[in-house]
Structures are given as C-alpha cells and as structure tokens.
C-alpha cells in the first residue's frame, strides 16, 4: 500500500486505505463513515473492494429497505448479516431506512438497544451515515456509537457526473432524499466556492467543481420552499462567473430552472430553459440528445402552464431526435413518447395518446423490466387514459399491476403508490363499486 499524503486526510484514498488496513488485521469490527457525497462514497467502496479482492477478503453490500419500522430494520439487518460468513460488509441506506411515522430518535433508540446483537456476527461492518443522520445518532445512540472504531469522515467531494439533459425531467425527486443532508452539502459546496474564488480558481473549475454538484444536491430534494433563497443565490453566483457557453453551463442553467419549476416559479424558469436550449443547439448541435433533453424540459414547462400549442412541436422535435440519435427502443425515447402522450391526453386527444402510451410501455417493459417503477408509471398512465375514456374494465388490471409493482419497488406509503391507489378508488367509484372503493380509501388513510 502506498504511503498516504496527510494533506489528504478524509480523502477517498485515505478512507479506503484506512478501511482496508482495518479489515486486513481483524475479522470483526464496526466502522462508521460520515459522508456527504454519494459519488465519493461509491469511489471509496470501489477502491476498497479492489484492494480487498487482492487480499482475498470477501466484500458484501447491504442496502437497507426503505421506510421500515425500527424492529423490522433490526431483524432484516441481522438476518442479512447472519447469512454472510466472513469479510467486510458495507451497509448503506440508514437515512431512509426508518419509517417517517415514528420520530427518528425513537427508531435509533431501538438500534441502540440492539447493540450487542448487531455486533455479534464475525464481520467487519461499515455503517455509512449522512451528516444529519449522524448528528441524531451521536445523541440518540451513544452506546452504539462508542463501539465504532474507526469513526471516519469522508470529506472529499467529487464532481458529480451531471445527469445529461437527455434524461427525463420530472422524476419523483425528493421523495426520500434527506433535505438536511442536501442543504448541508450544497451549503458546504457554496462555502468552498467562495474560498476557491478568493484563491483565484478559474471560473470554469468553480462551476464544475462546486456549483454544479451543489445544484445536483438540491435537485435531489426537489421543490422545497426552504430552498427558494438558495436557488436564487445560485442564479446570482452563476451570473458572476465569466464562463463561455459550455455544456456544463447549459446543465447548470437547466438545474436551476428545474428547481424553479419544482417551486412553481414558471416565469423564472423559462428564460433559463431557453438559454440552456440555445447553448445546447449552438455548442452540441440541433440533433444532439442533450438538445432533445432541453427541448423536453421547455415543453414540460409550457405544458404545466397550459401552453399546449407551444409544447407540442418541442415534444415532437425532442422525440424525433431521441429516436434518431438514441434509437427507437431507448428508455429516453420511451420518456418522450410518454410525455407527448400525456400532452395529448391533457388536450383530450385520446386516440393519439393511446398508441404513444402503448409504445412507451412496451419499451419500458423490454428495456427496464416488467417490475421497473417506470413500467409501473406507464401502466398507471395508460390506465388513466382508459378511465378517462370510460374503458373501466381495461383500466383495472393495469392499475392493479402498477399498484403491485409500486408497492413492491417503492413501498406501500410512497407517493406514487398512493397516487395509483387513489386512481383505483376513482375507478371503482366511477363503476359504482363503492364498498371496494371504501376499503381502499380506508387503506389510503391508514398509509397517509
């Protein structure tokens, strides 16, 4: 192993080296790593995994299920740990593992009481904790915390590979991402931005190293009203940078516009989307997939404002580029088909919407899988179309399939699951099946 440069304490290399050293010398232990960047975390895992492979130490990963009651988290975690004979286990997902129906401190109390059982397996366990989760856990489970050795802080921030503009705009952003963590991450990046700007770092580097990752962090949590000031701050900072019309700038503009969009500030989003589109067209070309993404974003904004006639040509152009550049079966093409279908449905152009929804569903089933949440989205949308047309018997099996996938993949109380459940209630009521609708309503209320 190469000697470390101590100026790199908290770096990806430092953390992975320490973990390998720890795993190499003892078959059992408990390490705690505080991290604020998923990308940095993945880099540590990847680096450590390859080192461990050379040393012949098995490496396993456990990703905790989301939104469980604390007893279930403990039982499932113990069951998984007990199935692993030896080696290092990286455990992620603590932030979203516990149901939000119980205060987090109550859940962690249960974890703390189970300290002895959790550390019993002969394994080296790495518990990854985000800053806000750690903050609570330090207070609520001090007994378990004291057993973490080493307790490390991963401070290196990695430039996130920005999601290309070609990707779908409206996802279920922010459903489980932790607001405090995202805010803290963005805030830290802005602090570093200021320090680096004073130190004379070139503007382009400031953009790609600090602003863009900070925007990505905020994008994870979506339309939080608390973010409004911070979002405006970004626009100001971006305006101060003397950067050429680069693709990174286009992405940054689109990210800020997305935040405005999520916050319902459509008029502020529009000029940023337009500028982003213009940069993409100039720098990447009219047929580039990122240009298609930009067109799609702007079209979605117009659709949300009811400006259907302005949205349609943009969606059509975006779809055409996707089909040509990415392929007729590409998942992004499925997204574009879905969006255009949704526009037609909003306009009551059901017969035009149906084939698009069907094609989108087919691509998603083939490319992403029959149980993928996006496939569930397509099923739900098609069912909605049929319900709007009064084709109730065709809608029901689609809703039921969508509901089943969403329950399994996203959880019973996920907003998308609840949305499908709600749609099914409307369907049953439309059919006069009031007792079935009543039962579902009761279930709906229990999940809220």
């Amino acid at each position: 192993m190469e000697p470390i440069n101590l100026s790199e304490t908290g770096s990806i290399k430092d953390i992975s080296d320490r973990l390998v050293l720890w795993a190499e010398r003892s078959p059992k232990g408990l390490a705690r790593i505080e991290f604020a960047s998923d990308v940095s975390q993945q880099r540590v895992i990847s680096k450590m995994r390859s080192h461990l492979e050379i040393l012949g130490i098995a490496f396993h990963e456990i990703s905790l299920f989301r939104q469980q009651d604390p007893e279930t988290v403990v039982v499932k975690l113990l069951a998984e740990l007990n199935q692993i004979p030896t080696g290092v286990v990286s455990i992620t997902g603590f932030t979203s593992a516990f149901t939000n129906k119980i205060p987090l401190e109550e859940s962690l109390r249960i974890l703390n009481f189970n300290r002895e059982r959790l550390v019993a397996p002969t394994l080296n366990q790495i518990w990854w904790m985000t800053p806000s989760f750690l903050q609570t856990s330090v207070h609520v489970m001090p007994d378990l915390n004291r057993w973490f050795s080493p307790r490390l802080q991963l401070t290196e921030l990695v430039l996130l590979e920005p999601a290309p503009l070609a990707s779908e705009l409206i996802l279920n952003r922010g459903v489980y991402a932790n607001f405090d963590d995202a805010y803290r991450r963005a805030h830290n990046l802005l602090q570093r931005f200021e320090e680096s700007r004073k130190a004379g770092t070139p503007d382009r580097e400031l953009l790609v190293t600090y602003l863009l990752p900070a925007l990505e962090a905020l994008a994870e949590v979506g339309a939080q009203k608390e973010l409004q000031d911070l979002t405006m701050q970004f626009e100001g900072l971006l305006g101060q940078l003397k950067v050429v019309n680069s693709p990174e700038l286009a992405i940054s503009l689109a990210r800020i516009a997305n935040l405005y969009f999520d916050q319902g500030r459509y008029s502020e989003a529009e000029p940023l989307y337009l500028r982003s589109l213009s940069i993409c067209e100039q720098r990447l070309g009219a047929d580039h997939p990122d240009t298609a993404g930009s067109l799609n974003n702007l079209a979605s904004l117009y659709k949300s404002q009811g400006r259907y006639s302005e949205a349609e040509p943009l969606y059509l152009r975006s779809l055409l580029i996707s089909e040509r550049q990415l392929g007729a079966d590409h998942p992004y093409t499925a997204d574009r088909l879905n969006n255009l279908a949704s526009l037609y449905k909003s306009q009551g152009r059901y017969s035009e919407a149906e084939p698009l929804y069907l094609r989108s569903l087919q691509i998603r089933e083939q490319q992403l899988g029959a149980d993928h949440p996006s496939t569930a989205g397509s099923l739900n949308n098609l069912a909605e179309l049929y319900r709007s047309q009064g084709r109730y018997s065709e809608a029901e099996p689609l809703y039921l399939r969508s509901l089943q996938i969403r329950e399994q993949q996203l959880g019973a109380d996920h907003p998308s699951t609840l949305s499908t459940l709600n749609n099914l209630v409307f369907l049953y009521e439309s059919q006069g099946r009031f007792s079935e609708a009543g039962a579902l309503k009761l279930r709906f209320r229990q999940l809220l």
Binding site: L6, T9, D14, W22, R109, R115, E116, W147, S149, R151
Partner: protein, 470 residues
C-alpha cells in the same frame, strides 16, 4: 482481546487499545492501572469491597448504586469488583438491555428476573458457581402458586416445561420441571414486555408485596444453600440502567416509585443508575443512602486553573504504557493525545488508534505531530456534533446558552455548577466533565478548542490556549 502484552509496533496497537471493558482476570491483570484511582477520588471498588465484606461478616445486606459518565470505565470497575470479592460472593450480573425489555420493563420484572436467576444459579453445580442444590420444594411450590391465578401464564409454562431440559439433570416430570418452564416463560415475557397485556401488568403490580415476600424467602433459601456449599453469598449487579434511550418513566418507576423493592429485598445488590437522576431533584427519593452512592469520575488532565495536572496525565500515561510501548510516539506526541482525550479512556484509545493508523499508512514506525493533529481533528468532529440539540434533553437548549455556560464553567464560576437543563445537556454530551466526585467540573479540552475557534475564549498572546489542545 487476543494480545495480553503491550503492543510493540504500530500495527499491534489496535489489539491492545480496544474500547471494550476489561472483564477477565487476565485482562485486568495486564491492563488495569491503579494509578487512575489516585487521581479520581480514590478507589471506589476498594470501598465497596470493604463494605461488602463487612456486610458478609455482619450478616446484613449491602445495597448501593454506581454511576459514571459514559466511557469512564464503569463496566471494567464492576468486573474488577466481582473479581476481587469472589472469595465471598458469587455475582449474578444482569443487564437492563439484554435481560429486560429496555423500553417497557416494569419494576416487577426486575424482581422476577432476580428470582429466576438466583434459583437457576443456585441449582447449578458448585464448579459452575452454583450451590449444587435446587431451592427447597416448598419454595418452588410457593413460586408456582403465586402464578396460580394467572391461568394463561401457567398454561404457557407447562408448554415450555414439556420442551425444555431441566437445568441440572435430565428432563423430568417434577415441580422443578414445572418451575423451570415457568421461568423460561417469564424470561421471554420479560424480554418482550411490550407485547404483554396491560391487565397482567396491573394485576401483578397489585400483588407486588406478596411477590417480594416470596422473593425474600427464596433469596434466604438460596443464600443458605450457597453459604453451606461454599461459604459465599449472592451479589446482584444490575447494569445498563443508565443506557441512553431507556425512557425516564421506566427508570423513575423502578428507582423512585417502587424504591421499596431495593429496601426490602434481602440480598446484596449494586445497581447502575443514570448519573442525571443522581443529580436531579428526585435524588433524595432514591433507595440508596449517600454513603452507598458511588460515582466514577473522569480523570483530569488540567487543574482548575487550567495548568497541567501532572498526576492525572501520569496516570493516563501509565494506562497507555500497560497497553503499548511508549517508544511508539515521537517526543511530546503522546501527551498531546492524552490532553485531547480529556482523560476519557475510550476517547484516548480512539485517538491513539487513529494516529497509529495514520502513521502505519505512511509506513512510519512512530506517531508524529501530523498523525496526532489528524487524530485530534477527527475526534473534535464528534464533539462538535455532540454540542447540538439532543432529543434526550428535557428541554430545548440553544447553543448560545450552552456556550455561555461552558465559559462560566471554564472560568470556575461555582454558580454555573448548579444542575439545570443546560448543565445536564452539557454533562450528557461530555462537553463538561466531572472529576473528583466533589463536584469539580471542567470543560473538555476539545470543547475548549471549539469555543476558542468561535472566538468565545481568548488565546494568550503566544497563541496558547489554556485548557485546550493548542
């Protein structure tokens, strides 16, 4: 703990500097340092041992509570005590978190747990720490009869009895067999108390007095049997009642509302209490007298005027010296870590381990100044987090109030030592430490650093920060 000799290289340090309490005689022999007691108000275990032995001779019962902030070595001290009194006492240790349901236990569960443990342990062979004899038939009958009106419990116990092996012999159809079934049932019920029916709880509470009477007769029998077998008596040690997360009502129910349990039980017992309860206004209601309340304080690395505490530092150096070769530090570096630990052993071990790893990774043979700096920065991060609002604080305490109180304590303002929500929160966070058992409070050196970095405490013109890690 694999290695019982001091680490001679940085690669071995992790073996001897583990945060687990010392428990076996070999570990205590190798690593325990008497010097620590000289700087933190004397050897509390020696006092307890003396009182226990007197109680043994005088045939009365020693009942005490034992407290201390986390990481000061309470479990190690209790292991040391049980080891030192083993010629007169057989110890039954049980934990609030592993034997009981920590969020839902009731006072009666503690009594039942003690009854189950003492009966089963007495029946064990002498070589395994028992008396080699079961409690008398009459007592077993009395226990069985106490549950006579609990039809469900008796039926479930019969099911247990048909599936378990008797503790000291083959499975048999006897009263002992039935009582063992009852015990197994009770242990499960106590461990998962949240599932218990409210009417069962209320019904049993209404019969607590009669249960204590049965328990006392059982304790008398078991102590007689043990005395006859080995000349020893039973000593109960109840641990982890200060574990974070145990709801205050559960603790207060046990130690305040039903404090008579501890007064009335005819046995020696030592229970571990939350230190916050001991410092609260409810302390006078505790069943343990002042001279039977023992606090294990931290080890001071500074004197009250913030000058170095040579004795405290020497004691901590002795602790390290028992576990690792001190030549593994570059000059002055060990002392920097000792100071940064604030005298807390778990923190000291965490610091040295981190520094040793840093040095190992740069292929060095000794811990140098940069390794130490990195270790201190890493632990300071934990302390910064602890200064935030804790969900266990009885009321919200803003940082400004905490900072103001820390500065007053740093300035040795005696009025600042009055226990209130702010001080309670700071003690829990270990930002404020208690040193000699005589209410000498100080601010942890890492917290002094944090205050100075926020310009709340001045540095000397030389840049030196009194009471901090510099």
């Amino acid at each position: 703990m694999d290695t019982i000799t001091p680490a001679q290289s940085l690669e071995e340090v992790y073996r001897t500097l583990q945060p687990d309490p010392l428990s076996t005689p070999a570990e205590l022999q190798a690593f325990y340092c008497e010097e620590m007691n000289q700087v933190r108000g004397g050897d509390q275990m020696a006092r307890i041992k003396q009182s226990l032995e007197r109680a043994h001779t005088d045939r009365n019962y020693f009942k005490a509570c034992f407290m201390g902030h986390s990481g000061v070595g309470k479990s190690t001290e209790l292991s040391r005590l049980t080891n030192r009194v083993k010629d007169k006492f057989n110890t039954i240790r049980f934990s609030a978190v592993t034997s009981l349901d920590p969020a839902n236990f009731r006072p009666l569960d503690v009594v039942l747990m003690m009854m189950v443990d003492v009966a089963e342990r007495t029946a064990m062979p002498k070589k395994d720490g028992g008396a080699g004899q079961r409690p008398p038939e009459a007592r077993l009958r009395e226990i069985w009869d106490w549950f006579a009106t609990e039809k469900d419990t008796r039926e479930e116990s019969s099911l247990f009895a048909s599936t378990i092996e008797a503790g000291i012999g083959a499975k048999e159809d006897s009263l002992w067999d039935k009582v063992l079934g009852l015990f197994a049932n009770l242990k499960g019920e106590i461990k998962y108390a949240s599932t218990r029916k409210q009417e069962v709880i209320e019904y049993r509470i209404s019969r607590l007095k009669s249960l204590i009477e049965v328990a006392n007769r059982l304790l008398d029998d078991c102590n007689d049997l043990l005395r006859k077998a080995s000349g020893h008596e039973w000593l109960f040690v109840g641990e982890d009642f200060d574990r974070s997360g145990i709801p205050s009502p559960r603790i207060e129910d046990l130690f305040i509302t039903y404090a008579n349990i501890f007064r009335e039980l005819r046995t020696h017992l030592i229970f571990n209490l939350p230190i916050g309860l001991y410092y609260s206004s409810k302390a006078p209601q505790l069943p343990f007298s002042n001279d039977r309340s023992y606090v294990l304080p931290d080890t001071p690395v500074f004197l009250p005027d913030h000058t170095p505490n040579a004795k405290g530092r020497a004691a901590l150096q002795a602790v390290l010296g028992a576990r690792m070769s001190l030549s593994l530090f570059e000059p002055d570096q060990m002392m920097r870590l000792i100071v940064a630990s604030g005298g807390n052993l778990q923190d000291l071990f965490a610091l040295v381990n981190y520094a040793a790893d840093t040095a190992s990774l740069r292929l060095a043979k000794k811990i140098d100044a940069v390794d130490v700096k990195a270790a201190i920065a890493n632990l300071r991060n934990d302390y910064e987090r602890r200064l935030g609002q804790s969900p266990y604080d009885p009321e919200t305490v803003i940082w400004k109030d905490k900072a103001d109180r820390l500065i007053e304590i740093y300035g040795n303002d005696k009025a600042a030592q009055i226990t209130d929500a702010v001080l309670y929160s700071l003690l829990n966070a270990r930002a404020v430490q208690e040193f000699n058992g005589n209410r000498w409070f100080g601010v942890h050196p890492l917290v002094v650093d944090i205050l100075a970095n926020q310009n709340r405490l001045p540095r000397a013109q030389t840049g030196e920060l009194l009471g901090g890690t510099n």
